[in-house]
């Protein structure tokens, strides 16, 4: 059985940049524990000599020349932003 502690949930939530309520932390600990326990089914399989699959097709890195071209304008790039000023995205201050 995989037990996921509330502290573990809080740690992961911080990594994932999610604010969780205490209630959510508790619920998540149980649900993640259940799902991870289920996933431990995979340990039945010996995979020591198996290569991992990251991609099903035999595609290699696809390269192109790094050439500037027309794409969206600055005005367009900003038009769906929650906040903007002087042609830039505006965010809360990071430094005191």
């Amino acid at each position: 059985m995989a037990d996921i502690s509330k502290d573990q949930v809080k740690h992961v939530a911080n990594l994932a940049r999610l604010a969780l309520t205490d209630e959510e932390v508790e619920k998540m600990a149980k649900q993640l524990g259940d799902i991870i326990s289920y996933a431990e089914l995979l340990n039945e399989l010996d995979t020591d000599n198996v290569e991992p699959t990251t991609h099903v097709l035999d595609l290699k890195n696809v390269m192109r020349k790094d050439e500037p071209r027309e794409w969206i304008s600055k005005e367009d790039a900003l038009k769906n932003a929650p906040d903007q000023k002087d042609g830039q995205f505006r965010v809360p201050s990071i430094l005191e």
Partner: protein
């Protein structure tokens, strides 16, 4: 009878003979939406004004060289970006994305074929779910019985076609999200080979699994829609550069001598009796048509769901990092510092299932767990892929049910994520292996709910999948059955 009961070929004839106009087709869509969408709830956004304007222009411009898709009303799943037309992926975090900046490659291709976009279709938020109950906006209903779910995540796309609100639609399939709702709603849905259709402009969920595909009423029209959206795209680095066949050629061939593999795991315990019976009847039909079938094994099937949830959630946790309340989307109104702005915007914008998967994925990728969960799942993926390759050495297609059951009642499974995940056991392996799969209607349950037959093919062998599906469709009447809605009652 609705104009949408005709095939594309028949509609094209009627257009050229001036029996109907593109405006008639577009009116058919909006009239039907007015009539039944209060019941079905398939649409998130309608494109009515623009669609009607476009229909008039297309009526004026109709030439003899028009594409077979000319003027056909289409619905687009809401995770496919449409320039200037609200795109939310059914998430509240994108509630204000009213003016997207570009069209997805598939939408550009459809525009070139002159289809008419009717609107954007509901789905589970960011395509995470099997019922449409995870939408951040509304719960789409199954047109065959509105107490039941349409399936998911492309539930709106399947329901809108089944209800006759659009002629056809696009969905996306990461673990069964086209095939399972197609099965639940009694329509035809194809997940193409990974890499066949460009994913540029598809809101990414799990990038090593996601594919866009067509949902239609008939196999033939499914092939026509696929033909329009395939092809290499330099904007998608996972897009395959392969030769594209003419899919309609598949319909010239019968299935005499076709070798069908039926995995015993696909008819095992857990598969509903009526579903199993319908699939066995379909296999009998294939025998009559001259194909042969044998029982085989996909021995690693039982591990597919666990591997899938680790891999897809890990990829999702990375893909969904972009929703941070900075460049687009909704930002929290709380006056907090930068880090808390990210955390609260995401907490307020994402629904429960999306949060659960981001958490699972972040956990599986986190230091100390990566090898045990993420890498292990990637290795199991290799075993599952090998299972398929081995079968395809001796057989042309794999056939089984699309889903172990017919549609669930609304609310039946929503509080039990794990049980719901396990129900995707027959569709998920196909995504892990990257092969194509289609769901076609193969009967109705005693409750009057559709049952889907799944046909799986080799990489890039959509032609054989279509040939197999078409032979069954032509020999049966399942695809002609329609739900009773609105004025049909």
């Amino acid at each position: 009878m609705s104009l949408f009961d005709y095939t594309l070929k028949e509609l094209q004839e009627k257009l050229h003979n001036k029996e109907i106009t593109v405006s008639d087709l577009v009116e058919t869509s909006f009239a039907r939406i007015n009539e039944v969408d209060d019941e079905v709830q398939a649409f998130l956004t309608l494109n009515e004004e623009e669609a009607k304007k476009q229909a008039k222009e297309l009526d004026e411009q109709l030439g003899t060289d028009a594409s077979i898709l000319y003027g056909a009303p289409i619905g687009i799943k809401d995770n496919i970006v449409t320039k200037g037309l609200r795109t939310t992926a059914a998430s509240q975090i994108l509630a204000n994305l009213n003016d997207p900046l570009y069209d997805a490659t598939v939408v550009e291709k459809l525009n070139a074929e002159k289809t008419v976009t009717i609107g954007k279709l509901n789905m589970d938020e960011f395509a995470m779910g099997s019922t449409n109950e995870n939408s951040g906006y509304k719960k789409t209903r199954n047109p065959w019985n509105t107490d039941y779910v349409p399936g998911g995540s492309s539930g709106g796309s399947a329901a809108a076609v089944a209800a006759g609100e659009v002629f056809f639609s696009l969905g996306s399939d990461t673990g069964g999200s086209i095939r399972q709702p197609a099965s639940f709603c009694g329509v035809v849905g194809l997940k193409p080979t990974y890499g066949l259709v460009s994913r540029f402009g598809l809101v990414a969920f799990a990038s090593s699994l996601d594919q866009i595909g067509p949902i239609t009423r008939t196999v033939e029209d499914n092939a026509h829609l696929l033909q329009a959206i395939v092809g290499h795209d330099k904007m998608d680095s996972t897009s395959a550069n392969v030769e594209i066949p003419n899919y309609s050629d598949a319909f010239k061939q019968d299935v005499k001598g076709l070798r069908i593999a039926v995995p015993k795991e696909y008819l095992a315990e857990g598969v509903d009796k009526e579903v199993k019976e319908a699939v066995l009847q379909a296999l009998k039909k294939y025998e009559e048509l001259g194909a042969t079938w044998e029982e085989v094994s996909l021995p690693h099937s039982k591990y597919a769901v666990a591997a899938y949830y680790l891999l897809s959630s890990s990829e999702a946790s990375a893909n969904l990092a972009r929703f941070d309340g900075v460049r687009y989307g909704v930002r929290t109104e709380k006056r907090v510092d930068m880090l808390d702005m990210f955390k609260h915007s995401r907490a307020e914008g994402f629904g429960d299932e999306v949060k659960r998967r981001i958490m699972l994925g972040t956990f599986a990728l986190s230091s100390g767990y990566y090898d045990a969960y993420y890498k292990k799942a990637q290795k199991v993926r290799t075993l599952i892929k090998n299972d398929f390759e081995k079968i395809f050495e001796d057989y042309d297609v794999i056939v089984g049910p699309t889903s172990p059951t017919t549609a669930y009642k609304i609310g039946e499974k929503i509080d039990d994520p794990l049980t719901m995940y396990v129900d995707d056991i027959l569709t998920i392996p196909v995504n892990l292996a990257g092969v194509p799969g289609i769901s076609v209607p193969c009967g109705l349950s005693s409750e009057g709910l559709p049952i889907g037959l799944q046909i799986i093919g080799k990489h890039f062998d959509e032609s054989t999948v279509y040939r197999t599906a078409y032979a069954f469709e032509q020999a049966t009447d399942h695809h002609k059955k329609r739900p009773s809605l609105g004025g049909d009652k």
